[in-house]
Amino acid sequence: MPEMWINMGPQHPATHGLWDLRVKVDGETVLDADPSIGYIHRGIEKLCEHRTYNQIIPLMDRTGYVSSMSWAIMHCIASEEVLGVEVPPRAQWIRVISFELQRIASHLLFVSGYAENTGLLTVWVYATRDREFILDLFQMLSGARMHYNYPRVGGVRWDLPPGFAEQTRRALDHLEARIPEYEAMTLQSKVFRMRSEGVAVLRREDALRLGVTGPNLRASGVREDVRLSDPSMPYDQFDFDVPTGRKGDCMERFTLRLEEIRQSARIVRQALESIPEGPVMARVGKKIVPPPGEAYARVEDPRGEAAEHIISDGSERPYRVKLRSPVFCTMSALPVMLRGVKLADVPPVMESIDLLIGETDR
């Protein structure tokens, strides 16, 4: 059969966002791929140059709209480094709690999306339903379900609401009982296994070479976690594992994220136990004017290494903001992963790297 290029997107029911993946196929087999992005490029980096440091926080919520909290916290960490303030311990702990809850919510959306793409619509509904519990917690914490606008440069907006710890524990109890159910519904399904095991293998060397980070890198067998190797939050206070895979196929990427949900729940429980008393905001004042300088802050986003390079020129607005999106880099490795995959498996493979077009395009 002659080779041909097929556009999967930008309007495609299975692409999880507005982007275009051109695949070169020979019959059913993918030979090459060319991701084309930028369909929802909003110029966030340019907008940041025209906002004050605290005004950027809502923008960051909209950059990575599935993991708003992690992006907003990352911006706050970068700004604090330029500004040179210490965040009070209680605010640090609240950040850890909300960050890990965000990871759980984001991974649950991944579980639902990936299950949907492999045809397990029940898991899709269950995981989306269970994500609601986390969103309810965020609503309790910040008042919003999606764009929280909760962290602030120098701390967080307000303290934990009364009853938050109990509600969180209840939600985690429920979730931890659910994960074996998800595993039973996915890992014991023959269809699921056939469509995941050995599909779209990303070898260790390729993952390292192409700048893949986060769960996708760990699934390929590299034990690397920015939370531990380049800490900007007090993760050394908590006892948790960094799950690492071996094979780097879709199955590993899926099971590894289920395990990460468990580990995040562990961290949240420990943090709720050991949260110190004290203020939740450092003394930074209403108007934030950092001295001229630069900072490069990295955090372990649910999707990998997110980083912000912020440059201050001594005014109340940053001179330049560069956002390093984890999915942006992982997506550039997609052609390597897709080589040899059957065309029908392309949507699950796309989802297996946990796509989020908002942060890819910025």
Binding site: E45, L208, S229, S332, D361
Partner: protein, 193 residues
Amino acid sequence: MASEKARAPGPEDEVLAQLKARFPDFITEGRVKRARRIEATVKKEGLLEVAWALLEMGFGHCSSVTGVDRLQPPQMESVCHAWSYERKMLVSLKVILPRDNPRVPSLVPVWPGAGWHERESWDLLGIVYEGHPDLRRILNPDDWRGHPLRKDCPLPERKQFVVPRNYDEEIARSITRRRESGYTERGEEAPPS
């Protein structure tokens, strides 16, 4: 900051000293900013050699490549951040380029993961990465003109919208005015009223 001066020499200083000793001509400026952060300014001619040396030293992960447009003095900076999984530290390599014709060697041979970052930097700032295998626009459409993150590309001023007191009347009047002028959205004839 005070903590910066109080920091005892660590493995970061060793790496920086090694680099400086190996490339005395290329590295014009270097300092350890804080724990796990090294900054170095490199001459354009030596960038690839320094990058290869860094890869040998274990800096296998290119975290990002980005550009900074400076107006005072007019210059363009291309900054590459490389992270080492083994040593657990980040080196920022800064190259200073002329603003009117910024050209810098591409880092794709050293770190293939830099490919999309350089495409983005070319797209948004117009820095040409020489030797890049596929230097196309990435976020903007292919037929876009100009580089929007440059400082001379202005963002339109935000206009404040003030609700007039007689808001409903104003709206009604503007609709009537539009009807009377014969203008419709699709350029058709005005409907008979």
